[in-house]
């Protein structure tokens, strides 16, 4: 983290969706930095443009105003190879076994297959799916499918992982477990992670920084540095400081 330049810099980014008759401002004036190796949570109610913002960073949408810089000068950031994505649905190909699913990005990028396979094996091990490599997605539970999706997002060794409410569809207990898993994976892989969620506790628990977005009109409310010790543990949720952070976010979202 000696880099002076942040890994991602968003400066006044806005996005307007236009249909024939109306314009819809999805994102306005989003300004925040993400340093290399950080895990930044993007929190806000549904429809606040979190996903749009993520897709702008992923290069799937153009933005209308402001600037997006990823990687900075001379970091060798390759938008094709250095982005991994995890969505709310695991989106595994149901006709492929777990191993083959994890291999998909490597196939598309044309990476050397032997090494990619070894890496996929290691990653499946890391996400706790050793022994399930030859199963089909329907043979796995929701949480296991999402683990496979996380392994898939890491197989081409990207610098940046974008996660769009990855645990939103899981039950509360599995979700807690997956939060801890994600922190462990983040610790081990040292990736930069941008984590979109509508769970305030989740955002604070995971993030080194939380970016708060409000809905209608979509705008960025605040950026909060989360100063809690690493590695995070579940009992931190009862810390006084943890409560201060969550209360502040509730207030920003007008829920207090």
């Amino acid at each position: 983290m000696t880099n002076a330049e942040p890994f991602i810099r968003l400066d006044g980014v806005s996005k307007v969706f236009r249909s024939r008759k109306q314009e819809f401002l999805a994102v306005s004036d989003a300004t925040f930095d993400v340093n290399e190796g950080e895990l930044v949570s993007l929190v806000g109610p549904s429809g606040c443009g979190k996903t749009t913002l993520l897709k702008i960073i992923a290069g799937l949408f153009d933005h209308d105003g402001g600037s997006v810089t990823i990687g900075g000068a001379g970091s060798g950031f390759d938008p094709a190879r250095d982005v991994g994505m995890v969505f709310q649905a695991p989106l595994l190909l149901k006709w492929r076994r777990v191993m083959e699913n994890v291999m998909l990005p490597a196939e598309i990028l044309g990476l050397p297959m032997k090494e990619a396979k070894d890496r996929a094996g290691d990653l499946l091990n890391m996400v706790g799916l050793a022994g399930h490599e030859q199963k089909y997605p329907y043979e796995l539970s929701g949480g296991m499918q999402q683990r496979a999706a996380i392994a898939r997002s890491l197989v081409h060794d990207p610098k940046l992982i974008l996660m769009d409410e990855p645990f939103g569809a899981l039950d509360a207990l599995t979700r807690e477990k997956m939060n801890l898993e994600l922190l462990r994976i983040w610790e081990q892989s040292r990736k930069t992670i941008l984590f979109v969620t509508h769970g305030i506790t989740e955002a604070v628990f995971l993030g080194t920084k939380v970016v708060v977005l409000t809905a209608g009109p979509a705008r960025m409310a605040d950026r909060i540095e989360i100063d809690l010790p690493q590695p995070r543990t579940l009992d931190m949720k009862t810390h006084e400081r943890f409560g201060t952070y969550t209360r502040r976010i509730y207030a920003l979202l007008g829920m207090e």
């Binding site: 992923a58 938008p79 994505m85 989106l91 149901k94 006709w95 598309i108």
Partner: protein, 249 residues
């Protein structure tokens, strides 16, 4: 195993009932021929083999063309949404045309013969394949396409790795419906104008009231259709993971 015995058993039961109806009902053989008489008609001098080959080629040829054109056109639709929005309503209207009624016209346009009958089989069977494939391609999660787009996948990679395997269950459900239609198309073509094929043969032996031969011809046409259906079914078993199969007929 139980399932296979059931399939064979039900078919055998129909033959037995057929036999009993003819035997006990004292039905004259020019109305319904007995199973035995029907089978024995194979030894008559009719060119069974040649006619079966002709009909098989018409059905398989027209069907193969229907699969290629149906899937291909659906793919073009998925690439160019404007084309889909423009042409899909037309496709629905075209689907309403009783294709059988087009038979005489197609024969006027292409002259009669196995080629023309294959074209009729094609025209009647490609629309369901197009419609189900287009549906299957639409069912693919947009997020999944986004996922591979972030990896800068080429259009061909998206098709081969995501779209085609993803819509295969739908393609097969359309293909299964299309088998029946392809068979009907070839038969209609042969009925209207032809000089070979099993349906042509039916027309020939009808004049001499050789009911056994007529029934044998129907049976052979059915067998060709069943063979094609089985091929499609086996391909589906091989290519589509059980969980993904779309249940139809």
């Amino acid at each position: 195993m139980w399932r296979w015995s059931a399939i064979v058993g039900v078919h055998l039961a129909v033959v037995v009932i057929w036999y009993l109806v003819v035997k006990l009902g004292n039905i004259p053989k020019f109305v319904i021929a007995s199973p035995h008489a029907t089978l024995m008609s194979l030894f008559d001098t009719y060119p069974w083999f040649d006619n079966t080959v002709v009909t098989t080629i018409e059905i398989f040829g027209g069907y193969f063309l229907a699969v290629v054109v149906g899937v291909g056109l659906a793919l073009v639709f998925s690439w160019f949404r404007t084309v889909e929005n423009l042409l899909m309503p037309l496709v629905v209207s075209l689907n309403m045309i009783p294709k059988v009624a087009l038979g005489p016209l197609i024969i006027v346009w292409f002259d009669y013969g196995p080629m023309t009958n294959a074209i009729i089989a094609f025209s009647i069977s490609f629309l369901p394949i197009l419609i189900t494939t287009a549906r299957g391609l639409r069912e693919i999660e947009p997020d999944l396409i986004d996922l591979v787009k972030t990896l800068r996948a080429t259009r061909w990679q998206v098709f081969v790795k995501i779209q085609l395997p993803g819509s295969l269950p739908y393609i097969f459900s359309g293909m299964k419906v299309a088998v029946v239609l392809a068979v009907a198309g070839a038969v209609v073509g042969e009925f209207i104008a032809s000089d070979a094929g099993l349906a042509y043969l039916i027309g020939q032996v009808q004049v001499t009231l050789d009911t056994a031969a007529m029934m044998m011809a129907v049976l052979l046409i059915t067998l060709v259709g069943v063979a094609l259906y089985l091929i499609v079914l086996i391909m589906e078993r091989i290519l589509v993971v059980r969980d993904a199969r779309v249940e139809t007929v």
